[in-house]
């Protein structure tokens, strides 16, 4: 697996080795070498699961659930069986914590169980994801102060991070909190709870599902439904197209430049930032669409994760449209417990800053992500202040509501978000080089590829979003004859297959 292309966007981490394992898991790894939805081995895996799942009679509901649990375990174990056992083990522990909480009404004991559950989940998350960062920072600090630490710094490339750890940790924490606050009843069925955490469509990179929403679905009888299959296929194809035809193509523009920003000129840098903004959106929302589509094919509905975020008119609006499952999680489990919008304005701003900083840290254990979170927190505060500023200026408010004003707000929001994406990388020093190139014209290498296909992709994406936003697509697709729509799906799939670069295999949000 090559990490070279995306090293600048994610925390560098090691891929597990498959040399001294059981033959069964080695064989499994050969069958499903990477846990990515747009790869052909995954499609074969999904097809196999679908056939087996729908062949089980409807009345054998638990058999279907067990099948999905086993399939999900194998999906993870194909990547790393040790980590699959770890995830399963912590899930069983979370299940037991929930059951224990349900068995007692003593507030102190319930609180202790809640803290144990959260402590275990955060402890594992910190061990795998943040250990290297904090130890290395401590090492640096001690060396700076003149001490000689008794431990050596850790090489991030040697740390294996279980994929999806941040996602399922948040799911487990939300379950524990919801049980503690009696929002939901503790789940009695172990396979249902295992499926809630391990369900393979949302295991790699979300959407972050809530127990109350998902566990209810596991009790609902699942029937084969062509409409639902069509929805699932359509979402999966849209996601695959976004990932393969757009995100991976954009990576060809931005990766070489952002990996070595010092070598390129300012124009190339602006193109790279634009390409990266498009890439990260299509990569993550494409993945989410595929996850939701795959879940639909199995009769499950996952929460929507994206809603045309680059058409947001301000940063608050952006966070209502971008990674919705995370932003609502942060709102419900961090922002509101901190006090939310209640209290003074400054208290509200403090809560926003804390929430967004934690959001940044959630993405990765590096200063770049933390600063990215702080920057978004600052943008949210600035937006709130601007709202107060506009409060008694009806003419300005009226202008901002016009088409021109809305376009201007969309542009400014997109610009601010794109600038923040520059920070979205482990190495802050690289980001500073990019900023210096962006705002101070400097010579250097030009883009390796003609930027025509970049513009073509951006315009295509804008047209698609406009078609959807204006409601035109709804009208067109509703009137389209079914065979034409089916052929359109096929053309979408084949175009994605043709345009996908030869060595595209990773998602940016993989291992977040």
């Amino acid at each position: 697996m090559s990490f070279a292309l995306w090293a600048h966007t994610t925390v560098a981490s090691a891929a597990p080795s498959y040399e001294s394992e059981f033959a069964y898991f080695r064989w499994l790894h050969e069958l499903l070498p990477a846990p990515f939805f747009h790869t052909q081995p995954f499609l074969v895996f999904l097809a196999g699961v679908l056939v087996a799942y729908w062949m089980i009679p409807r009345r054998w509901m638990m058999a279907r659930i067990w099948l999905l649990v086993v399939a999900s375990f194998h999906f993870y174990a194909a990547w790393s069986y040790e980590l699959a056992f770890l995830v399963t083990g912590t899930t069983i522990a979370d299940y037991l914590f929930g059951r224990c909480m349900g068995l007692t009404n003593r507030p102190r004991l319930r609180r202790a169980i809640l803290l144990s559950s959260i402590g275990m989940n955060l402890g594992i998350l910190c061990y795998f994801k943040y250990r290297g960062f904090f130890l290395n920072e401590l090492y640096e600090a001690l060396v700076t102060l003149g001490y000689s630490p008794s431990f050596a710094p850790l090489d991030p490339l040697t740390i294996i991070i279980p994929f999806g750890i941040s996602f399922y940790t948040f799911e487990a924490i939300s379950y524990a909190v919801d049980v503690y606050t009696r929002k939901i009843e503790p789940e009695k069925s172990l396979p249902r709870f295992l499926l809630f955490i391990l369900f393979f469509p949302h295991l790699v990179a979300g959407p972050i599902v809530r127990a109350g929403d998902f566990l209810r679905q596991t009790r609902r009888p699942k029937r084969w439904n062509w409409l639902r299959v069509q929805v699932g296929v359509q979402l999966f194809l849209i996601g695959a197209f976004k990932k393969m035809a757009i995100a991976d193509r954009m990576a060809l523009f931005c990766d070489p430049v952002l990996s070595h920003p010092e070598a390129y000129n300012s124009v190339a840098m602006w193109f790279a930032v634009l390409a990266y903004s498009v890439r990260i959106y299509c990569d993550f929302s494409g993945y989410s669409d595929m996850a939701i589509g795959a879940a639909h094919l199995l009769g499950y509905k996952l929460t929507m994760n994206f809603n045309m975020p680059y058409l947001a008119v301000n940063v608050s609006d952006f966070w209502r449209r971008w990674h919705i499952s995370l932003s609502t999680w942060l709102r419900d489990y961090v922002f509101i417990p901190l006090g939310g919008s209640r209290g003074s304005r400054w208290l509200n701003y403090r809560n926003l800053m804390i929430t967004m900083t934690l959001g940044g840290l959630w993405h990765g254990a590096a200063w770049g992500y933390i600063v990215w979170g702080v920057a978004h927190g600052a943008l949210l505060v600035i937006h709130k202040q601007f709202q107060f500023f506009c409060h008694d200026k009806p003419r300005l408010t009226a202008f901002l509501e016009t088409a021109l004003g809305t376009g201007l707000r969309i542009f400014v929001t997109f610009f601010c978000v794109s600038m923040c994406w520059v920070l979205f990388q482990p190495q802050l020093s690289q980001a500073l080089v990019v900023f210096s190139k962006l705002f101070y014209i400097q010579p250097g290498l030009r883009l390796e590829m003609s930027n025509q296909s970049l513009w073509a992709t951006v315009i295509f994406l804008l047209v698609c979003q406009w078609l959807v936003r204006s409601g035109l697509w709804a009208k067109i697709s509703a009137r389209m004859p079914a065979p034409v729509l089916g052929a359109g799906y096929a053309v979408c799939l084949c175009t994605a297959l043709v345009l996908a670069p030869a060595n595209s295999s990773t998602f940016i949000y993989f291992q977040f």
């Binding site: 029937r223 409409l227 979402l235 669409d289 959807v468 067109i476 509703a478 052929a487």
Partner: protein, 385 residues
């Protein structure tokens, strides 16, 4: 009661519709507004999608294997198109095809012969049909393709190069040729010569079953190479082909010693590696004999050509390899009665870019010198003397 209510189709679809309404996925709006009867429509959509995917894949296979076979192997296909054009321009002239590897592809420049030929109607029409990476097996494969495509050369120049007579492991020709470029008609050669023929045939099947994804890079780069960054472009073997099949190679000026030195040093470890444990594989010998027999069966003349190598490159040959190659060539010459054009020492090293590939100027000078020899082989009538 509950299950009875759920099974009623109208309610069921309404329920699903309500659920879908919660998922404000923009592209689903079309689905949302549909009436419950659209369930049947959804089935048609899925089936037409599956049928269209199969048909599109079938269309690509048909396109690459029947309609425009050059899409499958553009290096060969573009040469075929160019050769057809040359034959239309010069229908009467005896055809001479040069078949070999990159040394031939870059070293034989038919245009140079055109510039110096006497100008009689019987002057040979030289065309470069070399495929980069070819050893005797791929030369035979190319030759069979040439005859299958209806070309009838009067003389075939087969390149003889000892380093490519190895067929073991990574040095085998199978490892140098992408199976996605193979045609169905190549299977006879593969079955007869490839050590892993079954695996290669399976790969050929897979590349047709998975036609769009597996051939995407080749298809896209033939459409517009701007879609790829430079290091990803796989069209180096054909993008600069001239109308005579010549592939312009490296271009250091004769006096540019430094560049040539760098190129030679780059090649040295590969060459030494190739010569270590070198033996002439029996399959290579068999392929050469079969190629000669094939050409003769078609009533044409054949000659083996040993292209130039610099003195330094020649010095890298271990004595036993050098001796074995000379003996093998002599045996072929004696047993098959095939003429050998040994041009190994024809060119000064300043015309050899990396010691074994002729530079562009070198190719021009070399072909101008090779032309009369070739014409002599054909005789004044343009046919076998």
């Amino acid at each position: 009661m509950r299950s009875a209510a759920i099974t009623r189709p109208t309610q069921r679809f309404r329920r699903l519709s309500l659920r879908l309404r919660v998922v404000k996925v923009p592209a689903l709006r079309g689905v949302r507004v549909r009436s419950p009867r659209r369930g049947r429509g959804a089935r048609v959509v899925i089936f037409s999608f599956l049928v269209a995917v199969v048909l599109l894949h079938g269309a690509v296979v048909l396109m690459m294997d029947v309609v425009w076979p050059r899409l499958r192997d553009p290096e060969y296909g573009l040469r075929v198109a160019a050769l057809q054009q040359r034959l239309r321009e010069y229908p009467q002239r005896p055809l001479v095809l040069a078949i070999g590897n990159s040394r031939t592809a870059m070293g034989i420049r038919p245009e140079a012969w055109e510039a110096v030929r006497p100008g009689t109607p019987n002057d040979p029409l030289l065309f470069n049909m070399a495929i980069v990476g070819s050893g005797p097996i791929l030369e035979l494969l190319t030759l069979r393709r040439v005859y299958a495509d209806g070309f009838r050369p009067d003389l075939v120049l087969l390149e003889y190069w000892p380093p490519f007579l190895r067929q073991d492991g990574e040095f085998g020709e199978a490892a140098r040729f992408d199976p996605r470029r193979l045609r169905w008609s190549d299977r006879a050669t593969i079955r007869s010569y490839y050590p892993n023929a079954a695996a290669v045939e399976r790969r050929m099947w897979l590349t047709r079953l998975n036609a769009i994804s597996d051939n995407r890079q080749s298809l896209l780069i033939q459409t517009d190479d701007d879609w790829f960054p430079r290091p990803w472009r796989i069209n180096g073997n054909w993008v600069d082909l001239d109308p005579w099949g010549w592939l312009p190679g490296m271009d250091p000026a004769p006096q540019d010693v430094a560049t040539r030195r760098r190129l030679i040093e780059h090649q040295r470890p590969f060459a030494i590696d190739r010569f270590q444990g070198h033996t002439i594989h029996p399959e290579s010998d068999r392929a050469i004999r079969e190629a000669v027999a094939l050409v003769r069966a078609q009533g044409a003349e054949v000659a083996l050509v040993y292209l130039p190598e610099s003195a330094e490159y020649q010095s890298w040959y271990p004595p036993d390899v050098e001796h074995a190659a000379c003996a093998h060539l002599a045996t072929l010459c004696r047993e098959l009665g095939v003429p050998v054009i040994n041009t190994r020492d024809w060119m000064d090293e300043c015309y050899l870019a990396d010691g074994f590939h002729l530079s562009r100027i070198g190719a021009t000078l070399f072909t101008a010198r090779l032309g009369p020899v070739m014409a002599e082989l054909l005789g004044p009538s343009g046919k076998r003397p």
